[in-house]
Amino acid sequence: MSDHDSPQGTAWIWKIFWLLLAITTIEVVLGIVKPEILLTSLAGTSILNLLFIGLTLVKAAYIVQYFMHLKYEVDSLRYSIYLPVIILIPYLTFILIFEGQNIFEF
């Protein structure tokens, strides 16, 4: 097993659970309240939306790194998983959102 340095016990699992729960709660509260100050537009969308996407990526990182244990795998396995996803998904997202805007203006 390659996980000799992975955390022991179950305390770390609950720590990450509380963290994920806290982030979700923040997202839901922001989604219901929608503070006026965060609705100013930035980079083609609102600060609030960027905040949502940022928090989502943090949540995703914690799930992948700790729950899916990827942080403790060897580098060759980690990068063969990270790289395709990190390169292809932002690329696809960029292309489609860019085109969607152009078609809207058209």
Binding site: A60, V64, M68, H69, L92
Partner: protein, 302 residues
């Protein structure tokens, strides 16, 4: 798992990824699945950008919570998210217990995970039911654009409120079906009613434009693959497709979890001296949670 005793590199003694074959293949499957879901979500973003004006705002669509009156935007999906995160935690605990070869603990955490998955799938069924049956109803113009009925303050009214008046509107249940004639004559008679766009800015039509728009229009109640009372048709199609595809993943996950649980009980993994299967199904289960995190953000929050 039988350890490879051959240390010769060409004899298969080399393990560059230090991972079991099945686990590695689960990872590569998850990558392809991640790309599939990102294809769906980016396609959603593309169509949404194109039809910004007519795209329903999720908080106006998903407003019910079982047992609670009135509008509770986001509360129900928040509950569903909580259930899925919780079941992810019980899954980690199952994997953790499996590593220590503790059969009973693994089995109990598997049961908790299966229950969480079942609660999630049934919650989704409940949400689909309410989405399909409809909430306030809408008016589909001859141009196939869907608009909501609102008063001059911009408050969206349900068709029941339009036909039966504000006071009696709430008594009616969601199953009531209204004819075009009933709704349109009420709109024509009441000078305070206009049609408004479902999109973010809620752009209303003028009273004259409203009356003109009613020619050739139809009442829509509920949503399916052909009509959608909440706004742009594609919103309903994407909703069914993306949450449906994700829900089917959860359902498959529950079935696979039950199979692994069964094998835990039979003692299969005890005899193998390895709970690797629990770990593999755990990866799939966390992935399902991961996808939901993104669906939650892009469908309900943004």
């Amino acid at each position: 798992m039988k350890k490879n005793t051959n240390t010769n590199v060409w004899g298969g003694g080399n393990e560059p990824m230090k991972s079991e074959y099945g686990k590695m293949m689960m990872w590569f499957f998850l990558i392809s699945d991640a790309l599939t879901f990102s294809g769906f979500l980016t396609a959603y973003a593309f169509v949404r950008f194109r039809f910004e004006m007519q795209w329903p705002v999720a908080e106006d669509v998903f407003t019910h919570f079982p047992g609670l009156q009135g509008e509770q935007p986001l509360l129900y999906v928040a509950f569903m998210t909580f259930v899925l995160i919780m079941s992810s935690v019980t899954m980690v605990l199952a994997v953790n217990a499996g590593h220590q070869l503790r059969k009973t603990a693994t089995a109990w955490w598997m049961v908790a995970t299966i229950l969480g998955g079942a609660i999630f799938v049934s919650s989704q069924a409940w949400e689909w039911y309410h989405f399909i049956i409809g909430d306030k109803g809408g008016v589909e113009l001859s141009s196939s654009q869907v608009l909501k009925v609102a008063d001059l303050e911009g408050e969206v009214l349900s068709l029941s409120q339009v036909v039966n008046g504000m006071e009696n509107g709430h008594k009616a249940n969601h199953e009531l079906i209204f004819s075009d004639e009933e709704v349109f004559s009420s709109i024509r008679l009441n000078n305070n009613l206009v049609l408004q766009n479902p999109g973010k800015d809620h752009m209303p039509l003028t009273r004259e434009a409203t009356l003109r728009a009613l020619n050739g229009a139809h009442v829509v109640q509920g949503a399916n693959m052909i009509h959608n009372e909440y706004g742009k048709q594609q919103f309903a199609n994407f909703f069914f497709f993306i949450t449906g595809f994700h829900g089917f993943h959860v359902f498959s996950g529950v079935v696979l979890n039950i199979m692994v649980f069964y094998n835990v009980m039979l003692g299969t993994y005890d005899r193998r001296k390895s709970y690797g299967m629990v770990e593999k199904i755990g990866l799939y289960w966390h992935f399902v949670d991961l996808v939901w995190v993104f669906v939650f953000t892009f469908f309900y929050l943004v």
